[in-house]
Symmetry: C2
Subunit: 247 residues, 2 copies
């Protein structure tokens, strides 16, 4: 089942079998994307949304000089552009980080799901709101933390999200972001990102192995440096998702 990770770790009571199946059946096609390929350009009219079966996607906005600001990272189990269903076009670009496998879901199919399964519709709405909650925390990260804290916070967030879907082994950070990606996500220059990583290494928090590979040595310290508190990710341990369960 390709969509089995949707909202995994987020809903106390899973979606019903019939709803899961309906979502699965709404998948029109499965495609793969090579690293660093664009999936959607800002402003493009959309007919489909994409769900990540495996891999990492980046969302970004460009400034006047063409410099990128990452505004989101999506991992296995995430819908990347479900908000494209009500909005019909995106205000940002979407592209792959490494090799990615995507499930394509036509908006027509989503319309059918939403009509037929109100509970699933609510779950989808919720899923887009999780994105918004992460955006808010990114604002916090950029507005209140220094470069080292921003990088730490970003890594902490991704680790937490990977835990939800069972993609983190407690040590090897499996998202191959380069230092320039961290720079683009954290609003600093690549040079300064590099120096911040050095500090984190010297403090024994993590160990960058090059080429995007990072070994996490001290998760507690990482969370502390990034002032990371994961409650905004609405994990099921934290949240009683009443609105989704009172059916």
């Amino acid at each position: 089942m390709r969509t089995q990770l949707f909202l995994k770790g987020r809903l106390r009571h899973d979606l019903r079998a019939i709803e899961k199946q309906a979502l699965e059946d709404a998948v029109d096609d499965v495609i793969t994307l090579a690293p660093r390929k664009t999936l959607v350009e800002r402003g493009e009219h959309l007919e489909n949304s994409y769900y990540i079966v495996e891999g990492t996607m980046l969302r970004h906005i460009d400034d006047r000089r063409g410099e990128r600001q990452l505004v989101g990272i999506s991992v296995s189990g995430d819908f990347i552009d479900l908000h494209g269903f009500p909005m019909k076009r995106l205000d940002h670009c979407v592209g792959s980080l490494g090799h990615v496998t995507l499930a394509k879901v036509p908006h027509k199919a989503i319309a059918g799901l939403v009509d037929e399964f109100p509970h699933l519709a609510r779950a989808m709405w919720f899923s887009t709101l999780l994105d918004a909650a992460m955006h808010r925390e990114w604002i916090f990260r950029l507005g209140r933390l220094n470069a080292e804290g921003r990088i730490a916070h970003l890594i902490s967030e991704i680790i937490e999200r990977l835990k939800f879907v069972g993609k983190y082994d407690g040590k090897n950070f499996p998202v191959p972001l380069l230092q320039r990606d961290y720079a683009e996500a954290c609003g600093v220059t690549p040079v300064h990102a590099n120096r911040s990583f050095r500090t984190l290494r010297e403090r024994g928090v993590l160990d960058p192995q090059g080429d995007g590979k990072i070994v996490i040595l001290d998760e507690t310290a990482l969370n502390k440096i990034g002032e990371f508190e994961g409650d905004y990710l609405y994990g099921e341990g934290v949240l009683a998702l009443d609105s989704l369960t009172d059916r």
Copy 2:
């Protein structure tokens, strides 16, 4: 009609009369809030959402030292915490800026609306996604602009939003944010916000009158300094909101 500004300027085809009326009837109570009062604390369990009839509300996240980072500003016609309906608790605090008039809408009533009016439900979903789009632009602002650009961008955004609901006269900026609020929104110190305002004044872009009053002198220059492009606000001139109109 208290909720008449909901999504004003955003939907090419207005909501149907019956839907507008249903929304209006869902209002349980109208309350007023004195300046600088807290409406919702982070983590609090919610039973209601609030719509702004008149006034400005601020949303913020606090850092470890208690410093605030604004993550959103809501003006007349906005639902402040509609995302509280699917999420049931917020990851941020909400408070008033000046005197505010709010329409209280119980989540039970929203559940009724969503069940009965699928089109209105889609509009509500869309409305929460507008928030997310603004969040993304705030990330961009903090990550890619300097202090002056950030302040300019913020003011440009608010002006554009006020235009949607007919609350901007082309000159007097009617949102009484203090310099410290700009600082908290833009991730800079109040002192530096002050210096940035001085630069903007010296450039003839705007004229701060003290106590939150600002006269806008050159909107074009303001937009340029903030690299502001308002398409992310999904105004009806820009967007064909097909998903909401194909009924």
